[in-house]
Symmetry: C2
Subunit: 324 residues, 2 copies
């Protein structure tokens, strides 16, 4: 009977999660009266989960944990940004964020998603790092997805701790922020949980739900999400992908990272601000930094995200700007 | 050498994807000059991927394919809604959508994500269904995630076709829309691709990338996403979860679906419009439909998403409304 009540409860909540949630800015109530119906009560009371967003975050780094952690009944899962307003991510998605870091002074779970260039820039943002240190004093879990671990590391929270991050980001997490790196989908060191790249945040989140609500609850949530992943192609880690691909990608990521670091030390601030509005005419991506890849066509200067785009442009510039 | 150029190309693009994309509303150019450097050219030219959003869509149904398909170079992946503006999803996420169905008259790939109640309501929306039929005439692939297949099915496009959907939604897809159901993570029938629930949309999207760009390209994308999923708990399908959990959840989903169908036939329009603003005082969720679960406390009527919330409320109403 207890089992039936437990399941009824789970399913009612999961069903309800199919409805639009309110945008209530208050802390969601933990449903103690209904929770008491469950044989095994949750091990931890998790009322608030805050996911830190910033321009350039990687879509699934944030959305994976959002959806999975939202399966926990009575838990408010919401986004937070340095300033309220629209956050535009690495995939061009525009999200309205209604809480700034000034609005949030405690969280049960902090989730810091990753990205690439913008994520590294966040490791230099004193206001954000101070906020993370302050919030960390209140959390039951402080977590990261992918290169989000760089930011948590920059706040000094992963020094000498066991952690992981996107496979490319491990050297930076170790060398710049002092973490002990592990080659796993997710790693826990006390309340500090970190996950490998992008999609690993979902595996970590499932483990969090199981840790908080118990495995029977997590299993019901998995069924709602139909999370029985079967990649149609083998790969996805540095250990099951051919070495040439891994080495080349690592080299290319490194080149990109060198550009970011260079931009931090050398770019004149005024020029950097102007450059934000440059669009690569080939791939239509925003060029955020002075990469040095530029070309002049019909008296106008064009900026490129890469040498490859520049070369494509120079072969036939008319095809890229003719329709403008 | 070709291999190196190919990898350089992939990685340059993937690196670039870490930058913010422009919100260019025009069709993205297919990078023919650079694509020609690849030994094996893409099998299909995919310039535009449109993901249909609506209030109540499930987060990962849309965000999984968005992130994975965005890994294809030269491809614009964007959201479309019935009307431009803010779309609020099932998890309370607010997304700015800049293209309405009136703005879009062709797509290379259409993706229709699922949800629950709101998804079923979309199967009755003639304007949206007519748009899907029109767009389908232009697509290279017409795809669905989870219960999104109900909408594609309601447009008449899956009749007598092999397809799948969320495990709960299979009966509806078969009985109401005439599809031939398969128990797989994703199913293709010519250009019609469908996936099982929520997270299965990522597996389908990886298969699409491999189908379009070739396996070597897809493998590089997998490495960028670190997509080597390892769920910490076994489960996630109706076939590897204990029967009691599956049966109970199916029963509860069915109860929810009965409410939706009832609301379509019986609810007075005026009352329904008023009810949208009701918040369940226990779980703080919006109550969208007249479910019949209500209670009066201190002269005021409260509405509930479920009997469980109502019961919790009645045990101690003061704890849920005292702070208001």
């Amino acid at each position: 009977m207890k089992q039936s009540i437990f399941l009824w409860l789970i399913i009612t909540i999961i069903l309800s999660s199919c409805n639009s949630k309110s945008d209530d800015t208050k802390t969601g109530p933990l449903l103690d009266p209904t929770l008491q119906l469950i044989g095994d009560a949750p091990k931890k009371k998790i009322r608030t989960v805050g996911i830190l967003l910033y321009d350039g975050f990687a879509t699934l780094d944030a959305m994976g944990p959002h959806h999975v952690l939202k399966e926990m009944m009575g838990t408010n899962v919401f986004f937070i940004a340095k300033q309220k307003g629209t956050i535009t991510n690495g995939g061009g998605i525009k999200i309205d964020v209604h809480r700034s870091i000034e609005d949030v002074d405690s969280l049960d779970i902090l989730v810091v998603p990753g990205g690439f260039k913008e994520t590294y820039l966040m490791t230099k943002d004193t206001a954000v790092l101070n906020w993370i240190r302050r919030i960390d004093k209140t959390t039951t879990y402080t977590t990261s997805v992918c290169t989000g671990a760089w930011i948590v590391g920059a706040a000094g929270l992963l020094k000498d701790k066991n952690a992981t991050t996107h496979w490319f980001g491990k050297d930076i997490l170790k060398n710049e922020f002092g973490a002990k790196i592990h080659d796993r989908r997710w790693v826990r060191d006390g309340k500090y949980w970190s996950s490998a790249g992008v999609t690993a945040g979902m595996d970590m989140s499932v483990a969090l739900v199981a840790n908080i609500m118990g495995e029977p609850y997590a299993r019901a949530a998995l069924l709602d999400l139909e999370y029985d992943p079967q990649s149609p192609i083998e790969g996805g880690s540095e250990f099951n992908t051919d070495k040439e691909t891994v080495d080349m990608m690592r080299k290319m990521y490194s080149t990109g990272m060198e550009e970011v670091k260079l931009s931090l030390t050398k770019r004149p601030k005024v020029e950097a601000a102007k450059l934000v509005s440059f669009l690569d005419p080939v791939c239509k991506m925003k060029v955020n930094y002075a990469t040095g890849d530029s070309a002049v066509y019909k008296g106008k200067t064009y900026k490129f995200c890469s040498k490859m785009c520049k070369e494509s442009f120079e072969k036939d510039p008319g095809s890229f700007v003719a329709s403008k």
